[in-house]
Symmetry: C2
C-alpha cells in the first residue's frame, strides 16, 4: 500500500534533465496510441476503461486533451462524473457508471468515477464507514465483472502536491483563459487535504485489483508521458489482429 | 436445492377445492398491492425488482397483466428481456440489466432477466461451463449490490409442467386471439426440457440469495394468488410510513 507522502510528485532528476526528449517521446507514443486504437476499433474484441482520479487541478482534463487528442473520436469517448442528479441518486452508486462502460472496440475515459463515492463522500462524512467498506467490495465486484467480460480497467491517480495545487487554483483566478475552471468550492476541499490523502491510500489498499498507476503530476509533460506510455503498453499487450476479410 | 421433478405444478387438493375463495382472496391482495405501492412511491426510500422466470407459456405475461393491473403505472414499470441487440452483446451481460434497475419508489418487473444468460445460453451451449459459473458469481454480486443499496430483489420461477406447456403452445395455434404469441422456436426449445430443468436447478443452487419463489403454475388462478401474496407480504415487511409534511 503506497504512502502518498513518500511518493514524489515530480519526475526523477535524470528525467527532468531530459524534458525535451521526453516530450518528443510522448508525441511518438501518442501517434502509436492512435494506431493501436484504430486496430482495437476494427477488431471489436475487447474494450478499455480508463479511470482518471486526482485532486482538483491535478490535470485530469489536460491529460484527456493532450494524450488522446489524436485518437479517433469514434473509438474513444469521455465521460465526466460530477455531482449525481436526483435520478442517479435514486439508484445504487454504480448504476450511472455501468451505463458508460465501453462496448467492445471502444476506449472510454472517465474524468472522475465511482471512486468519488468513497472519496469526496467519505471525507465529507456524507456516508458512514460501513458504507465505505461495502462500496470497496461493490467496486471490486464491479471491476471484476468488467475485466472478466473483456473490458480492461486502467486506473490512474494523478498525484499533485499541495503547493502545486495552490499555484494552479490561483492561476484560475488570474488567467482569463482559465477563469471558467475556477470554483470556490475547490479551496474548501483543499482544507481537507490530509483526509483526502488518507482516503486515497485506503482506496489503493482495498481496490487495487486491477492495480492503480500513481502518476507524479506536478509536471504535465511528465504526467502525459507516463500515461501515454502505460496506454500504449496496455494496448500492445492485447496482441490485436486486423480482422480478416469477411466471406 | 429443489429437485423440480419432485415439486408439484398444481395446487394442493384442499386449495383446488377452494378455487372460488382463492380467486376472491387474490382480488383483495391485488387491491392491497395497489395501496402498498402508492405508499412506497410516496416514501421513495426503497425499490423493488421482481424477476419472473419460467419456460415458454408458463404465464409470465399473464402474471403481469393480472396481478399488477391495478398498480399505478407511474410507480411500476415492466421490462421484457429478449435476444440481446448488437449493442447489448458488445457489453457485459449485466449492462442492459443494470440500466433497468428501479430507482427508489418504483417496482420494476422483469419478464425474463439476466438468468437467461445462464439458461438458454447454457442449454444451447453458446457459452462454456466456466462462463456459466463465472456468471453465477457475477449475478450474486450484482443482486447483492442492489439489495445492499435499498433495492429488494424478488425472484419467481413459474413452474409449468411439460404436458401443460404443450396444451398452451398448441392453443396459440388454434385460438386466433393467441396467434400473436405463437413462435415455432418454442417447440424447439421444448425438446430440451430436461436440460432446462437441470439448468434451473443449478440456478436455484448457486443463485439463491435472495431466495427463489417456486410457483406451481399449471393453474393460473393459483399462480396469481401466490405471487400476489408474496408481493403483499414483501411490501408489508418494508414497514413504510407516509412521509410527513415538508417544512
Amino acid at each position: 500500500m503506497p504512502i502518498l507522502s513518500e511518493i514524489s510528485n515530480l519526475p526523477p532528476l535524470e528525467i527532468a534533465q531530459n524534458k525535451k526528449n521526453i516530450k518528443a517521446a510522448t508525441k511518438i507514443l501518442s501517434k502509436e496510441l492512435e494506431e493501436l486504437q484504430l486496430k482495437m476499433f476494427a477488431e471489436r474484441k475487447r474494450s478499455l476503461l480508463v479511470i482518471l482520479q486526482g485532486m482538483d487541478a491535478s490535470g485530469k482534463g489536460g491529460t484527456i486533451r493532450k494524450v488522446f487528442k489524436h485518437v479517433n473520436p469514434a473509438g474513444c469517448s469521455v465521460r465526466s462524473f460530477k455531482k449525481p442528479s436526483d435520478e442517479e441518486m435514486a439508484h445504487d452508486f454504480l448504476w450511472r457508471i455501468h451505463q458508460h462502460a465501453p462496448p467492445k472496440g471502444i476506449i472510454q475515459l472517465f474524468d472522475r468515477s465511482h471512486y468519488e463515492d468513497v472519496l469526496i463522500q467519505r471525507v465529507n462524512k456524507w456516508i458512514d464507514e460501513e458504507t465505505v467498506y461495502n462500496r470497496f467490495e461493490q467496486i471490486n465486484n464491479f471491476e471484476k465483472l468488467l475485466q472478466d467480460t473483456g473490458c480492461t480497467v486502467l486506473k490512474f491517480y494523478l498525484h499533485v502536491s499541495y503547493d502545486e495545487q495552490l499555484v494552479r487554483l490561483e492561476e484560475r483566478m488570474t488567467n482569463p483563459q482559465k477563469y471558467w475552471k475556477h470554483n470556490a468550492g475547490d479551496f474548501e476541499e483543499r482544507q481537507k487535504w490530509t483526509q483526502y490523502m488518507q482516503a486515497y491510500e485506503d482506496v489503493f489498499a482495498h481496490c487495487n485489483k486491477p492495480e492503480w498507476h500513481i502518476i507524479p503530476s506536478d509536471k504535465n509533460w511528465y504526467k502525459e508521458y507516463l500515461i501515454a506510455q502505460t496506454m500504449v503498453h496496455t494496448l500492445k499487450s492485447f496482441d490485436m489482429q486486423w480482422p480478416s476479410l469477411k466471406k
